[in-house]
Symmetry: D2
Subunit: 360 residues, 4 copies
């Protein structure tokens, strides 16, 4: 029950949507790594709302202020703390929701867990806004990984049932960066424009849509991870489910392996020209027995449709203990999949950096 994770690099996220500030502490980052604030800001901007009509109209500056851990853009060994001040809040939008939990939200479960004492304005600590500090930490992790030749990229694989292409089996770092940094990060822009239309349509209908994100990490040394409960899948999955709205994760062929024969699924092995062991396919997603095999680490993760919709919905009135309906006002994203793309990269980067700090 915790807003922190990590074994060597410990990441602790704090803040409520309508509190004074949100932020993150990142403990145990080694000293001496140069962190470019421009690059970090570009990464942060990828999840920023208010850029277009696909997202909430809220303006979130999302400029991190570093309280500790960086001196002259260099990590200095002490824990990094960065905060983002909250400004553009409209708490009154939430007044009439009091005691009426929004379906698909954590309102009811937070109410039960904290005996009605949670500050749930704007989703409180469960708000998607809390992924901004995650991106600060993850953006730093990405820069440190880049020094080691490890590149992590993600894109929208599916929105509203419209499918993008998958990453190639062995993408280059440049490919990953080009795709993931697009304003609407898809491989096939034609599929992308259909997704955008579907999102706009949902918005007009007072509704929302979900999707799937595909994430790849290249350059990870083989032999990372271990058998059973601290394998790479366990650790990435555990952290990725910490992102609000994530409801599934699969590695490599994942759920589709249930339809494959062993002879199709097993990745044939061979020596490449440089004498490295490779596999011809990557159904394993770069992981066998919880340990990396040197192929790209690949996973897909499912994002549910944004629960905040403006249509009338059935709920309960916890104060008067009766059935009722609500209509949620305020500014809400009809889709958060595109904004979640950098968040997934951030979490993957943090887990991989964490694992790299363990001795082989």
């Amino acid at each position: 029950m915790s807003s922190s994770f990590g074994k060597n690099i410990k990441v602790s996220v704090f803040g409520q949507s309508h509190g004074k500030a949100i932020g993150v502490v990142m403990d145990n980052v080694p000293a001496g790594h140069k962190i470019s604030s421009e690059e970090l800001q570009l990464f942060m901007d990828r999840r920023k709302p208010g850029k277009n009509k696909l997202s909430t109209g809220r303006k979130e500056g999302d400029v991190p202020v570093f309280l500790s851990g960086l001196e002259n853009d260099m990590t200095c060994g002490s824990p990094i703390c960065a905060i983002i001040e909250n400004s553009d809040q409209r708490s009154k939008d939430y007044d009439e929701l009091k005691g009426k939990p929004r379906p698909g939200h954590a309102d009811y479960t937070a109410y039960v867990k904290w005996d009605g004492q949670a500050d749930m304005r704007g989703g409180g600590h469960f708000s998607g806004r809390l992924t901004a500090p995650l991106c600060i930490a993850g953006g730093i992790a990405k820069q440190i990984l880049m020094e080691k030749g490890i590149v992590i990229g993600a894109h929208i694989l599916e929105v509203a049932g419209i499918r993008d292409e998958s990453f190639p089996c062995t993408p280059t770092g440049a490919e990953l960066e080009n795709i993931s940094s697009k304003e609407f990060p898809v491989i096939n822009d034609h599929a992308g424009s259909n997704m955008i239309k579907a999102i706009e349509k949902a918005s007009q209908d007072g509704d929302s849509v979900g999707g799937i994100i595909e994430c790849v990490a290249i350059g990870i040394p083989e032999g990372l991870g271990g058998p059973m409960f601290e394998g790479i899948e366990s650790r990435i999955a555990s952290a990725v489910f910490g992102i609000p709205a994530i409801k599934g994760i699969e590695f490599g062929a994942g759920f589709s392996s249930s339809k494959m024969k062993g002879s199709e699924h097993n990745d044939p092995m061979y020596y490449d020209e440089e004498g490295s062991v490779k596999t011809k396919t990557n159904n394993a997603g770069g992981i066998l027995g919880g340990i990396t095999n040197g192929m790209p680490v690949v996973f897909k993760t499912a994002v549910k449709p944004t629960p905040s919709i403006s249509r009338q919905q059935e709920t309960v009135d916890l104060i008067n203990k009766e059935n009722t309906t609500i209509q949620i006002k305020g500014r809400h994203d009809p889709c958060i999949v595109h904004r979640a793309v950098p968040v997934v990269e951030a979490v993957a980067a943090l887990v991989i950096l964490d694992m790299l700090m363990e001795d082989k």
Copy 2:
């Protein structure tokens, strides 16, 4: 990088496939719980191989011997240790595999991680055999949960692309137990017999098939879990990926939520006749914001096709550093999905018991 998990109930699995014994330590189980060894054995038998032609011909007695923690079938507060002695091993079947990693297995990654020093006969510590001790611990957890009115059941949802029905939205404990304890645990036996045929066909072809398991837990109090990284999804997912061959997990509507509208996905809330808050559908899988809402906790998990197949496969010769092929001999399961059903229940039970030990 660890064969142990859990925060309050710590489970530590040990053993290699061809070592002296395999076993498990289960630390911090409260004293005073009666554990029926008959019931535990019935649970263990559900994963036992050699029962029919769907499984390996190996005879594994799989009778746990308790070294500590149980006195007169009662937990006594000290860590529970149980072992299963290994007997029916045919190490020579593995001799010719030396230096030739089997595709889809952990042979290569273990080789890299442990510099060629791992004992990989029979899959070593990565063997599916290690799920037997997991079932000991999980079977004990299931009995303790039963005292609290919590029932966990699973069934085969899919094998080789053949689909069973899903559990009903709010199954009873009796339904869960009836289904999960079938010799071939499916809801629709007609689908089940088609699955069996597909498995037998794969076996004849020297091939293997994978599948999907659906698991449900009922009776879990609302308010269990927490936001972000120690929510129920994070903890169940982390442990489930510790089971060999698992490649995906989804909660509630999971990956299919990517095709749903928010208005379809959000579960409408209402008061039932007893004044409890319920939802009409359960796309959330009983979890919102990482916290239980009182509905059944539902997840599905993907099992890859057994990597050991008798067909010729492309691999590398690590000693002579050249490409080669192998053909795996010995007795292997053409499908492990049915045997993995109790293992998934075991892991779910362990995580839920672990979480119940934390104060609300």
Copy 3:
């Protein structure tokens, strides 16, 4: 290697002495606890420097600003983050120390660990200043424990070889609070004034003194803790050694038990008038087998003399790789024992609150 601790209540301290701000995140505090900011400030003031000539002349406001987790002085379930902005810094005092590690300080070890990249001005992240955020978290924990009838108090037991009396075997909450909140927290004020003289003398001599703190917690339910590695002693000790300058800890009779016979050391047991099991003496310090027995939990902890002294000292010049001497300027405490008293209480409170969140 971490500035965070705790299993259920996770405390993460951040900041460098001369950075922008220092602070703390306290994760997983249950919602609905009223926190008095006046009371918290009174507690913070107990470690504040600049009150008299026994401490550094630096003025540290030490007024926490809460960024999250408290709404209207009530915990709201989301992680509590509080910061203290740094203001009265004189970084130039440290300029001539560059490359010349101060004996008894972490300068050299931080230099080695972080390859010379640590921000060590003012002691950096190793500064005693980092105990201010610990007191914020601990002060909150103390208030929550008080609701449960648990009172924690500490006093100076020894400074410069001058000994105070020990707490009585079964102190009342009022006694603990009266003593620990004194400006110079001793039981025997005559001993206290001798200590003060010794501190002033050391100050005049450009030297410093150390001491011993005794801490007691009453009202802790019996049965808390467990055998072996997560017993109360293990958990308190682990956290107390996180306080800079602590070099020893003992529970109950501690080191003096080495001079006792078993017949003297074993605490005779009896039923008191209310039918509770008590012991006539408390050599066990309230703990047997790592588990509380209902008697007060008592420990003593050793504080080394402040390493910053103005006398000339032998050190090395890491840049020119030669032996040299330094003389430390700036404002330094000739003794930190009295200021460490609330810090020890803070840490004890955090550990006990953490342990209370586990089910018996």
Copy 4:
């Protein structure tokens, strides 16, 4: 609340004194380390009872049987599990103690914690016998550390108020091994023979004595550990308090620093002939700011007098709820300090090996 510890090397101890077997799982030990079983047995024999009249008359073979993790005396990457079967038990000696907790023992606290359901024959899981499996794990750790040039040794510093000499400031590995492997491990054998007389005297009086153990580790690289809560002191202290009967720990000058001036306590620094930074004294015990400075790591730990004495003692009758007395029969050690010496080394070795597996 746990019988396991460690972050990278996880050690989990199981068993009750009068159960079938006791043992240990040691997870995540890297593959490829040669473990000499002769050397391990010699180490185990150092804590073995029944060697002379200073110890219990019980014969404990204490020969570990390895169930997994070692193949041909080589670690193979999978968790190491070793057990010792229990044989020479006299459970009836404990019959009349039922419901009458022995003063100074965990009988009462275990009773409270586990509602009277603990198996406390022979001390159950709290028995000193559980330190035998700790020595298996620690003995393996010592052999792996030895490969890296790290030697750990301990001796009896004090028994019954009789003091041995301290280790020299910078002992050699040979000195450490010679002293610690003595049958009665002291530096000054004259002090040793006085200690032995005091132990025999206590035994004749139906009483017992306690003592202090000093432990030193040499060859540890500088820069190991970290600030605050995962520093070396925190981690060693946490594990050492997991040993039954330990009531105090201090590093370097420890409690005596309370009587020292800063100018005496600060260790003067210099370059030695090989260009390494050293200190002239070692009051810091090799640790500054939680991080090693390259000097020997030194700590002392207090062992209480054995609580099992044959004299009549006051206790309570938990069944009849009245005051009563008991007289403990059976074979008991009048002193366990000498037998605890290898246990302290074992725990220190395990913590240091665990910390070495983290990247600098």
